[in-house]
Amino acid sequence: MTAPLPAQRSETAFADFKLPLMRDAAVAEANRCLFCSDAPCVNACPTHIDIPQFIRKIATDNVRSSAKTIFESNILGMSCARVCPVEVLCVGACVYNDLEQPPIAIGKLQRYATDMAFEKNWRFFEAGKPTGKKVALIGAGPASLAAAHELRRLGHACTIFEKRATIGGLNTFGVAPYKMKADRSLTEAEWVLAIGGIEVKTGVTVGEQVTLQQLEQQFDAVFVGAGLGADSALGIPGENLPGVYGAVAWIEHMKLTKADMSAVKSAVIVGGGNTAIDASRETRGLGVRSVTMLYRGTREGMSGYQHEWSAALEEGVGTAWQSLPIAFEGTGRVQRVKCVKLDASKRPIAGTEFTIEADLVLLAIGQAKLGDMLGSLAGVSVHKGIVKVDAHGFTGRAKWYAGGDCTNGGKEVVNAAAEGKAAARAIDAAIMKGAARA
């Protein structure tokens, strides 16, 4: 199954950015919730957790049922409580924002209930009566875990194929350690798998050790939850120098092993999205004195969340707006980044070249899309590497379903959880058509 994590990991240096609530604080916060009717927070949650209801149950000390309400909608509710960008989802929608008062700390309350569920080893769900149907899932990330759990509740046997040695997907090797560390994600994955009847084959790459055709023949349905691919590159001189890495690859390295930061005094992070902000905060957090986020657009134009960006600023991350690297330079390893300033339409302005020192460069300019791996399947349409699906995750080719980053182009864990679950229900409807349930 999943490989154990080494005890020595760079990520263990990080403390939680958002602190957990103790009981009295949780109850007090829960009692502030207005228990809105047709609550906007629920509509803002991709998995539609009944937020006022779970909060009310915290207020009445009915925490077990509170946790159940959360997991009923989102089986990954424990990690989502920590990693969700609640500021732009449920908390951002809370009606208190309209009163210009602090919104309810929904993420922290969800963490309070779900952490207690894990601590007390509460379990809520059982596998359904066996249907004799088998479903294959590609990737052991949030999308497949949510799909497999729902499929098991419906009684279908599941086999997950995961190319890595470790399960959990980016939730394990991607999310920032000040939100959640890898071991917590593994604990969650195992808690999900404990419903039983989900075989996980790690170290198996679909397309190599097993073919798509084999899966199609051997299973009643296939769910593709393969996520995104490798970090994109700029294609400029010096990109292969040691010290220049893809940000997501470096984050995985830092989270799962001990990254050697001893020689790193300054770092440049290229990009303006959330991965760039994460990488900036992570390098700062690991003691890199000078960290510069280099983005080709303006501050207003960056896709990273405002609340993440403010935290990065507070932690001392520096910036270079409207700037583009044109070469990485150094002897034996990267030492400098040569850049040029860009105009409003992101075109280089002649004569504005400048240089920044950097012993570490992380490229956070996007990830490859893996959809092309399905290209050989007639009936599946792939656009710019993104697998096209309907609202229920159906690809258009019988048996084939997909969800998560590989279909939405890269959103959040909570979207992958919602899409995986929806696809599981659609798979169930399709493979049980005309069949009687025991």
Binding site: M22, R23, D24, N31, F35, S37, Q53, R56, K57, A59, T60, D61, N62, R64, S65, K68
Partner: protein, 422 residues
């Protein structure tokens, strides 16, 4: 899963949660939505000769920033025609045959009672509730609490109802009496199958201090109304428990008054209620509060090993005794956990000004010191302490055998020396 089904005087319900006779149980469509949300039963808004209501009708009592912690109303019984109500009862019963509908009634003459009882049962009512409780408006007309406060009249009307009814009869008692026992006993003598209590408490919810008019305000005047909601729970619990423990009473009880969540419900049940009824919290938050009540009760039963509701009903009644039966030699003293203490010294102020002057500030630390030789174990410090499990009241072995006041007076059992009485 524990079985939540209940039986209150022959009225069977899938769970102990009923809507009280009040605005949330005013119409068929409302009650149907409530049953869909999970409510076990409903006591229909009191039927009688339709009345005319005033506006406004409700007042809210904000306590420490919590809106509606107490609530009052000057609303009367149904303002809809009897025919409409009965038709909707029939419709609702058809859609929800398993959920009991108890029809609340309030009329004057024997003939009226006889007629309305028959029509209510014909419409599909599973039980009747005689509203002898309303403390405003109806009593001036010789109904409501005017009946509930007069055991003889209560007994007589209950007798009529039981005589004319083919379904169980519950009598809804008013709390506006000095002792609930004679009124519960009157219902029993009348032949009731059970009682429901409490109705609302006579009250003035507050005063508009700029207009010099009490609330709720009807133009430039107001009247006394019925107090209910979270704040009345302690009064309701006492009245329920007083009847539950009374040796000659023994009727099933439907508990009402400030039930807001599963925990309140459990408290009412432990003190003898086989069902609970809710009005105010539903008015404030809607039918969906029942979800927490149902699964909170299930969790509670599971964790305490109860399979059925009747195993827990009345479980705390034997422990509710007279003051004279309490052990005067049981002694506790307060202990402060210095590691947990945050140094707010609320306990110092409370003990010095409100108790026995035995918690003292210390020179070298913010953690106060308890003088155990003076501490009377009153609990005040623990009540004000904001830190969980920081102050505990620890039993002391004083060498004295248990002795109650009654045992001391009648058998001469020795009492420990008084503390703090100098």
């Amino acid at each position: 899963m524990p079985d939540l089904s209940t039986n209150t005087g022959g009225i069977h319900s899938p769970n102990p949660f009923w809507l009280a006779s009040a605005p949330p149980a005013n119409s068929g469509l409302q009650i149907q939505r409530a049953f869909e949300a999970g409510w076990g039963g409903a006591v229909w808004k009191t039927l009688g000769t339709p009345i005319q209501n005033v506006s406004s009708r409700f007042g809210g009592h904000t306590i420490g920033g919590v809106r509606g912690a107490g609530f009052n109303n000057i609303e009367l019984i149904t303002d809809r025609s009897i025919e409409t109500n009965l038709r909707e009862i029939t419709e609702t019963k058809k859609l929800f045959p398993k959920n009991p509908i108890i029809v609340s009634l309030m009329v004057e003459t024997e003939a009226e009672w006889k007629d309305l009882i028959k029509r209510s049962i014909d419409a599909g009512g599973d039980g009747l509730e005689l509203n002898f409780g309303c403390p405003h408006g109806m009593c001036e007309r010789g109904m409501g609490s005017a009946v509930g406060q007069e055991p003889k009249i209560n007994e007589r009307i209950t007798g009529w109802a039981v005589q004319y009814s083919t379904v169980p009869v519950l009598v809804k008692l008013t709390p506006n009496v000095s002792d609930i026992i004679p009124h519960g006993m009157a219902a029993k003598r009348g032949g009731a199958h059970g009682v429901s209590l409490i109705n609302t408490i006579k009250s003035i919810i507050g005063v508009d201090i700029d207009r010099f008019v009490p609330n709720p305000r009807v133009g430039l005047a107001s009247t006394n109304g019925g107090y209910c909601g979270s704040a009345v729970k302690p009064i309701a619990l006492h009245m329920v428990a007083a009847l539950a423990r009374h040796k000659e009473f023994g009727l099933p009880i439907s508990g009402i008054g400030g039930v807001c969540n599963w925990r309140d419900a459990v408290e009412f049940m432990l003190l003898g209620s086989s069902t609970v009824q809710v009005c105010t919290e539903v008015m404030l938050r809607g039918y969906r509060i029942v979800e927490d009540m149902i699964d909170g009760l299930q969790e509670y039963m599971r964790s305490h090993g109860f399979d059925r509701v009747d195993q827990m009903v009345g479980k705390a009644v034997p422990a509710f005794s007279e003051w004279g039966e309490l052990d005067l030699n049981y002694e506790t003293v307060a202990k402060i956990d210095a590691d947990k203490c945050i140094g707010c010294q609320l306990c110092v102020a409370a003990c010095h000004d409100g108790a026995h002057q035995c918690i003292h500030p210390q020179q070298d630390s913010r953690v106060p010191r308890v003088d155990e030789s003076e501490c009377v174990g009153c609990n005040l410090c623990q009540i004000v302490c904001p830190v969980p499990e920081c102050i505990s009241l620890v039993p002391v072995n004083n060498g004295f055998k248990p002795a109650t006041w009654n045992e001391h007076v009648h058998q001469g059992k020795p009492l420990r020396p008084k503390k703090g009485a100098h």
